[in-house]
């Protein structure tokens, strides 16, 4: 077909083509001689507007624009795990090899997945089997811990008419042939394409009643998120958003981690690459990278690709979910994505809404967060995608549009607090302003797996923190000395909870990940001390006598002193508390 579609106007990353009727919305196009990747974002009868995912320096009016006939999509198949892509699924390691320089050259045309590599394929179907969309027909050991399950694309079905033998195949080799209802034969290989802006279909969504265990005390205990849930991590710069995201990516009990570095720092990505490669997952004994895929669109990479990176990430997560895995996607940071929307909207001269953001910001955000869920897949298996999005509010002001709209669509809100971060209290999740709506959904699970007392301890801890917050208002005005002893005890216990429990040291080998069992015992021990001490205060023993025993300081350090595999030591702590306080009591009455 003759191609008359040529560039008319150029404004930053936005290119217009005049008098063209050939393009469809969201179609992927190649722009100019260097074949820069772009996407159609607006069509009128006079002009088609395209956002280009690469630097537009050097483009000329008159250069050709070639449509691909398909929307922006990603290639899904083995080789995604342990890989690092840019915002539109170009493999950065391959680009490095190809360009031979540390800089990313433009128009680099590389297949997202290795087309040469031969995978060990095991065919799981035989001739005559009826397959529908989502059904698994082959398995491949993708990494040491992840089995890749090759599925029929969701919109296809039919009867298997031919299969190959188990053996070594590359991703484009045909491994089975199916015949659909109309009798048409379709070759299926090891990979498939999927448009990034379309959610992959499922049978139905399931309730969010299983927690995502993260090993972070403040999250697991006070603000748990469920598998298939959504959480927002807002915080000003330096509040520890990225640290929190890294901790979750390292320790949460999802099978697959998709980490999207959206408009963030290049050095941070190289840190993730290095750290995750060295870190050994305690459950599998393999490097963390074996279950991780990174999408890196750093802040200096093209803004339009930044906008796409979030969708690329969640599509990859959905693909693995369809295989029956629990996936978690960390998006750091969704504010940069919203800003990319704003930037492109500005270039299109659209009417801005709040703070220059386009009016469709809330609908885009809700579309994205709604893709998180625990689901029953087309093939009947169960999987989930949990979305944890960092938000970087301008001036750390939570009333700005991105934070406010994110709050509407996420059910967990881990508000990071500047003053906690200043005092180097990490994770700086403020226990007064954060919330989790999953509490009640998860209660049944906690009761079954950790016992009713876990929930009781949690509410008691919560009550003490609330109480302390009220008391601190008074303390700020008149000082702590004038409080009665029982209120002083609240403040003392709350200090142990804050420093000894909520604060967690990511660099300490015992403290970086804490199993639920230990979290529960820590709460139990702290509450035990609180109860015994308040009993003593009820018998008119001054609190100074009790604090001088050093028990509170000892509990503050139990997170370091008790290794995760020696939980029986908690017994000794309780014994010690009882003995010490008994001695005090007897001494007082003799």
């Amino acid at each position: 077909m003759e191609n008359n579609d040529v560039i008319f106007g150029i404004n930053g990353p936005v290119v217009t083509v005049k008098n063209s009727k050939t393009f469809s919305m969201m179609e992927m196009v190649y722009v100019g001689k260097q074949r820069l990747v772009g996407e159609v974002i607006k069509i009128t009868d006079k002009a088609t507007t395209i956002q280009v995912y690469e630097e537009t320096t050097g483009l000329k009016p008159g250069d050709t624009v070639i449509g691909t006939g398909a929307p922006m999509n990603v290639l899904l198949g083995p080789g995604i795990m342990d890989n690092i892509f840019d915002g539109i699924e170009r493999p950065l390691k391959e680009i490095e090899k190809m360009s031979g320089s540390p800089f990313i050259s433009r128009g680099a045309a590389v297949s997202p997945l290795d087309t040469e590599k031969k995978w060990d394929v095991h065919i799981t179907v035989k001739t005559g089997d009826k397959l529908k969309g989502g059904d698994i027909y082959a398995t491949i050991p993708e990494t040491a811990i992840i089995e890749h399950r090759v599925m029929v694309p969701p919109n296809m079905s039919g009867e298997v008419v031919k299969t190959v033998k188990d053996g070594k195949y590359s991703i484009h080799d045909t491994v089975i042939v199916i015949k659909d209802k109309s009798g048409k034969k379709i070759d299926l290989s090891l990979c498939q394409q999927w448009p990034i802006r379309t959610p992959r279909p499922v049978i139905n969504k399931m309730p969010a009643d299983i927690p995502l265990i993260t090993g972070q005390r403040v999250i697991d205990t006070l603000f748990p998120v469920s598998k298939g849930g959504t959480a927002a991590v807002p915080g000003g710069f330096g509040a520890g958003k990225t640290m929190t995201q890294h901790q979750l990516a390292k320790w949460c009990d999802a099978d697959i981690i998709v980490y999207v570095g959206c408009g963030e720092r290049g050095n941070e990505m190289s840190q993730v690459l290095q750290e995750f490669g060295e870190l050994i997952d305690p459950k599998s004994g393999r490097p963390m990278t074996d279950r991780t895929v990174l999408i890196a669109n750093t802040s200096n990479m093209p803004v339009a690709a930044r906008e796409a990176s979030i969708y690329t990430g969640i599509t990859l997560a959905e693909y693995y979910r369809d295989m029956g895995y629990h996936c978690a996607i960390m998006a750091d940071s969704t504010s940069r994505w919203a800003e990319a929307l704003r930037e492109i909207s500005g270039r299109l001269e659209e009417m801005p809404a709040e703070e220059g953001f386009p009016a469709y910001l809330p609908s885009r955000l809700s579309e994205f967060y709604e893709r998180a869920a625990r689901v029953q897949n087309l093939n009947g298996s169960e999987g989930s995608v949990t979305v944890i999005g960092a938000v970087s509010p301008q001036g750390a002001d939570f009333s700005e549009p991105v934070t406010q709209n994110t709050k509407r669509f996420t059910r967990c809100f881990w508000a990071l607090d500047k003053s906690l971060a200043y005092a180097r209290h990490y994770p700086a999740i403020n226990w007064m302003t954060s919330y989790s709506e999953y509490f009640t959904d998860l209660d049944a699970w906690f009761e079954q797996n950790q016992g009713r007392d876990f929930i009781e301890y949690r509410s008691k801890i919560n009550a003490i923190l609330q109480e302390e917050n009220k008391l601190m208002e008074i303390v700020k005005l008149i000082g702590a000395d004038v409080l009665p002893d029982d209120q002083k005890l609240i403040i003392e216990t709350a200090r142990v909870i804050r420093v000894g429990f909520l604060q967690q040291n990511a660099f300490h080998k015992e403290d970086t990940y804490v199993p639920l069992e230990k979290q529960k015992l820590m709460m139990k021990t702290i509450l035990h001390l609180h109860e015994v001490a308040s009993d003593l205060i009820g018998r008119n023993i001054p609190i100074s006598r009790i604090t001088s025993l050093g028990l509170f300081d000892k509990l503050t350090k139990m997170k370091y002193d008790i290794p995760n595999n020696k939980l029986e030591l908690f017994k000794n702590y309780e014994k010690e508390i009882d003995e010490a306080l008994n001695t005090t009591l007897t001494a007082e009455f003799n």
């Binding site: 404004n11 320096t57 540390p102 330096g238 190289s270 800003e339 001269e349 005092a423 180097r424």
Partner: protein, 460 residues
């Protein structure tokens, strides 16, 4: 065939519009010859068919609709590069102004640069010893980091930057391959002169490249200044294997120039009138720091910015903080107390510090000490605010100890002479000495083994 386009269609601020231009490309550089013989340069920033919008670097003064001839150069904005550039003084768009003639280029590079592949980066880990206690102990600077100084008008950010340049051990172990790229954007002549004199005093002027766009120079040139400076820095670091320290002052002026340009282009403004792409634009500068595989050099950035009205939530410091790997925040109250450098430690941060300190780098107790100092100093601030309500006399004994610790900390640890160069060990020991004014039970960020080794309480 070379075509001259006579006249322009429209003039608006620093932009001119031409019609009927054929075969131009986006971001191409054009020469604009005035009737009186002067030549100015401009860059194509927007195109609609044959209508092009050109940004003129040296103001549009004297340009009329008829008195110009415009010629396409066929090149994007490029910077001539060679080893000889070290020691030279250039203007904001990279042309020599020291009267020593043109730079004979070994190569030319597009000043916009290309994004670094995250895979090719080396995660920076080597700390730079600056000899300043607060920075070395609490906000450790790492080679390849971008660590801005957030300051305000009238504060001693220039002195601090000069002291870092003088004392910092940036060079290799054998003391080779170190140089400074200094980019001045919209600063007063005195400031540029102060840096120049200081460099001459330490005898490093032959290791400095200066790019000067002073307060009265054209604003469009100001937009190019940091780009040119970083292009030079990348060349020196990644092709000549040098350790380059880039000082850029003042980023607020840069952002204002960008705002001026954006508004004359008629773009939709974001917060405080700054363009919506300010974040991406700043990122395209700050991200040009780091270390890459296959090269021994590094680019370390110390941008300086003045916070309008000392407001850290102003868009420029705010967006900067989201991109850079930490920040050094100066405080007017500390400067008022006569403390130099007036670094407010609580909001200051170095993100890369955690992997560049400790055993094998500085000393095993470094991280714990830093955490404890931050945490204890935060309590000092609490105690002070309480004292301002109920009076210092009414404070509990422990709060009084914190007040005393806070004063000593500011006077002895934060405060240091402009010429004083403290080793890391000295700074760490000083930190432990000061913690000795607090009872051991208060030090809850340090485990007992380290406390046993370093903690020595002072006599009452």
């Amino acid at each position: 065939m070379v075509l001259d386009y006579v006249g322009v269609k429209e003039i608006n601020g620093s932009l001119i519009v031409l019609d009927g231009v054929k075969d131009a490309f986006n971001e191409e550089i054009v020469d604009i010859r005035l009737d009186n013989g002067t030549v100015r340069q401009g860059r194509i920033v927007q195109m609609d068919g044959e209508r092009i919008v050109v940004q003129v670097f040296e103001s549009t003064r004297n340009i009329s609709l008829k008195n110009t001839k415009t010629r396409l150069t066929g090149k994007p904005m490029e910077m001539p590069l060679s080893k000889e550039i070290i020691g030279r003084i250039l203007n904001g768009s990279g042309k020599p102004i020291d009267g020593l003639g043109d730079i004979y280029p070994e190569k030319k590079a597009n000043i916009n640069g290309t994004p670094l592949n995250p895979v090719s980066r080396i995660y920076p880990k080597n700390y730079i010893n600056t000899g300043i206690s607060t920075i070395d102990t609490l906000i450790t600077l790492i080679r390849g980091q971008k660590l801005p100084i957030f300051s305000g008008s009238g504060m001693k950010h220039n002195e601090l930057a000069v002291q870092i340049v003088r004392q910092a051990k940036i060079a290799d172990d054998d003391g080779k391959g170190f140089c400074v790229v200094f980019a001045a954007m919209g600063v007063k002549n005195d400031v540029a002169d102060y840096f120049k004199r200081s460099f001459e005093e330490f005898g490093v002027m032959n290791k400095v490249v200066m790019l000067l766009n002073l307060a009265n120079d054209p604003i469009i040139e100001r937009i190019l200044t940091p780009k040119c400076a970083l292009t030079v820095a990348e060349y020196l670091a990644f092709e000549l294997d040098m350790h380059v320290l880039v000082i850029m002052t003042d980023m607020t002026s840069y952002a204002e120039a960008l705002r001026e340009f954006s508004s004359s282009k008629g773009e939709i403004p974001g917060r405080k009138g700054y363009p919506g792409y300010l974040y991406s634009d700043l990122a395209s500068l700050y991200e040009r720091a780091g270390m890459v595989k296959g090269s021994k050099g590094s680019v370390t950035q110390i941008p300086i910015l003045t916070m309008p009205n000392d407001d850290i939530t102003h868009p420029v410091p705010d967006l900067t903080g989201y991109i850079t790997e930490g920040q050094i925040v100066l405080d007017r109250a500390l400067q008022g107390q006569g403390i130099y450098p007036p670094i407010s430690i609580l909001p200051s941060l170095s993100r890369l510090m955690k992997d560049g300190i400790g055993e094998g780098y500085t000393r095993a107790d470094h991280q714990a000490l830093a955490n404890q100092l931050f945490s204890s100093y935060a309590k000092v601030i609490d105690a002070r605010s309480l004292a301002s309500v109920i009076g210092a006399e009414e404070l509990s004994p422990i709060d009084k100890k914190y007040i005393a610790f806070g004063e000593k900390f500011e006077e002895q640890f934060v405060n240091q002479k402009f010429t004083e160069n403290r080793s890391v060990e000295q700074s760490l020991d000083l930190g432990w000495d000061l913690l000795g004014y607090l009872p051991r039970g208060e030090l809850d960020r340090v485990d007992d083994a380290i406390l046993d080794k370093y903690y020595k309480p002072h006599e009452e």
